[in-house]
């Protein structure tokens, strides 16, 4: 039974282009009090675009209403459960925003002299220190602007480390359960990729790993917990095997949300790692950024960190140290995305050590609660215990002709955003569900009831699911037509 949504009336929306009528304005400019300049004459004709015509001409109130109405069509974490979890957007506590809006932080300028930037530099230093403690690493850089950027920074450091010993090596090992950015990163850094098959538990097979290692292997890129939401229980052995051949272990810490306060990558043998601050430390992520891919290293890689590094001088003041001869160089203008850094630190300090550990435990509890409730209805992909997310396969439903994408569409009718569909790719027809730590029990129960109800609909009336959604603003869109014949801009009829 659909309990969360009712059909309701809300206004249809034209494109701004379609509302346009000639001469309407949303602004008033004073009369020109300087001589008019011919743009084509001043800039050169090739720099003045005239092929784009028919810009919309609308009034201010029409524009405001247009975007306000569109905003009410959104589904977001502030409206209900978002089972894509931290990969996309977990709840951002409002304290983060309050702190980020403090004038001295919000208006800090990268060209302020160091003497006027001591506060913001202190914030960077304190966050780097906190992340060192959480990761169990010896040094952290906050310079990279996103997770994949952090990966690239990390693997470039691995390359520099080996180059300093006279041989950059040739190969990076990547398990088949890896994030797609891992092999992409290694390739961008000039390495060949060697794939490692997972075992029946969805974990790296240590035997297969040992068979893949030789002197040409620079590093293993491993995600832990991995993309099927399973903790690599042989991780210490995996790291030892890599180190015995002189290789480095890179950990994709995208799923640190499941480890904070419980296990530290530095303790189980990881040499270098990144963590996406939005995933674990609740910085905003909607709309694709700005991001932060904090990178932690053990001391042997510390000389290769991106320049500059923070340094405290004899008088106790912070300054930037550019004299880093072995550094891979700067990877971003200025130092990371500062607004994101502030929010991550606010989150860490607001929780404290115990609070962070509790958040981890709650994330695991929520995911395993969902797994337990849904297991009678959906096939769990791997029997190994789930961490912060649970992954099902659509095999039982697909046998009746209904696939994960159809179930996700039907979930919209029940008032929920779909879960992650068809990822990870090593699971056939995956339904990946990550509730995160903040989801209350009654919301999770509603969500589970919806998925149970859909599994019953598939038994009784599969057409209902195959043609879903029925209550959404638009019926099921033709994804194939949209991909094959995309219409990417409005043209005057």
């Amino acid at each position: 039974m659909i309990r969360k949504t009712r059909s309701n009336i809300s206004q249809n929306e034209q494109l701004l282009f379609e509302m346009s009528s000639p001469g309407k304005r949303g602004y008033q400019l004073p009369e020109l009090d300087v001589p008019a300049v011919d743009a084509a004459g001043a800039l050169g004709g090739e720099n003045v675009r005239d092929e784009v015509t028919d810009f919309p001409e609308v009034s201010e109130v029409e524009t405001i209403r247009h975007f306000s109405r569109l905003s009410t069509w959104n589904y977001g974490i502030d409206l209900g459960m978002f089972p894509l979890g931290s990969c996309t957007m977990k709840y951002n506590p409002r304290i983060n925003e309050a702190v980020a809006r403090i004038d001295g932080l919000a208006w800090a300028h990268p060209y302020q002299p160091e003497s006027l930037s001591q506060g913001v530099m202190e914030i960077v230093a304190v966050l780097e220190g906190a992340l060192c403690e959480i990761f169990g690493m010896d040094a952290v850089t906050l310079q990279p602007a996103a997770g994949a950027h952090g990966e690239f920074t990390g693997i470039m450091m691995v390359r520099s480390y080996f180059e300093a010993q006279g041989n950059a090596r040739k190969v990076v090992l990547v398990p088949d359960s890896a994030h797609g950015t891992n092999p992409a990163t290694a390739a961008m850094a000039g390495y060949q990729i060697r794939n490692i098959q997972s075992n029946s538990q969805g974990m790296v097979d240590v035997g297969a790993l040992e068979a893949s290692i030789d002197d040409s292997v620079a590093a293993l890129m491993i995600t832990n917990p991995n993309t099927v939401g399973v903790f690599e229980e042989n991780i210490a052995q995996i790291c030892a095997v890599m180190h015995s051949k002189g290789g480095q272990v890179y950990m994709d810490g995208a799923n640190m949300n499941a480890l904070v306060g419980i296990a530290r990558p530095g303790d189980f043998g990881v040499d270098v790692m990144h963590s996406n601050l939005h995933k674990t430390f609740s910085t905003p992520h909607g709309g694709g950024g700005p991001g932060a891919g904090a990178v932690g290293v053990r001391s042997h890689l510390e000389p290769f960190l991106p320049a500059p590094r923070l340094r405290k001088n004899a008088e106790g003041a912070w300054s930037w140290d550019y004299d880093r001869p072995q550094s891979i160089g700067p990877v971003k203008a200025f130092y990371g995305n500062f607004g994101v850094i502030v929010r991550a630190l606010a989150y860490i300090l607001a929780h404290g050590g115990v609070g962070l550990k509790n958040a981890t435990v709650d994330a695991l509890l929520n995911a395993n609660y969902i797994r337990k409730i849904l297991e009678p209805y959906y096939e769990i992909a791997y029997p190994a215990p789930s961490m912060h997310e649970c992954v099902f396969s659509d095999s039982r439903q697909a046998a009746k002709g209904v696939k994960t994408g159809d179930i996700a569409k039907r979930l919209i009718d029940y008032g929920f955003h779909p879960y992650t569909v068809s990822f990870p790719m090593i699971v056939h027809g995956a339904l990946m569900i990550e509730p995160t730590e903040t989801e209350p029990k009654h919301e999770i129960d509603l969500f589970c009831d919806a998925l149970i109800s859909i599994s019953q609909e598939i038994d009784e009336n599969p057409e209902l699911v195959l043609k879903a959604p029925h209550l959404s603003r638009t019926p099921r869109v033709d994804e194939v037509l949209a991909a094959r014949k995309p219409v990417v801009r409005w043209k005057k009829p």
């Binding site: 994408g405 790719m425 194939v480 991909a483 094959r484």
Partner: protein, 126 residues
């Protein structure tokens, strides 16, 4: 589904059909059915050297982008340009009209290593 007897097949679900020293390469019916509706095809240009087991191009479906692995080593002599505007042909006729590329093999004996139709059908469990 009919898997032509005179084709040879790979574990990555490509087929190759020989004519002299030129092999015509495509993806199997099984591959297109797993991929779902194909919306874009990326192929090498004629003259490109390709190596067996390495990427030849990619096909994009609504679900994912998948690599096409070359079943053989050699030189690309022709790419099926009609797929650029009509990628749906890969769903409709993967073993025929929707071939991807023709490759002049560096060594004809390499197709001995590939599966025949009955082995491939056993491999995919049909």
């Amino acid at each position: 589904m009919n898997y032509p007897e005179n084709y040879r097949y790979t574990k990555e679900h490509e087929w190759v059909s020989m004519d002299g020293d030129v092999g015509t390469v495509g993806i199997t019916f099984h591959a297109q059915s797993e991929l779902g509706d194909i919306v874009y095809v990326d192929m090498p240009t004629p003259g490109a050297a390709v190596t067996a087991g390495e990427s030849l191009g990619s096909v994009e479906s609504v679900k994912a982008v998948s690599e096409i692995y070359s079943p053989v080593s050699g030189e690309v002599v022709e790419a099926n340009e009609t797929l650029k505007d009509a990628p749906e042909k890969l769903n409709d006729d993967p073993h025929g009209e929707a071939w991807l590329v023709k490759i002049r093999l560096s060594d004809k004996s390499q197709i001995q290593d590939l599966m025949d139709a009955s082995k491939y059908q056993a491999y995919i469990g049909e």
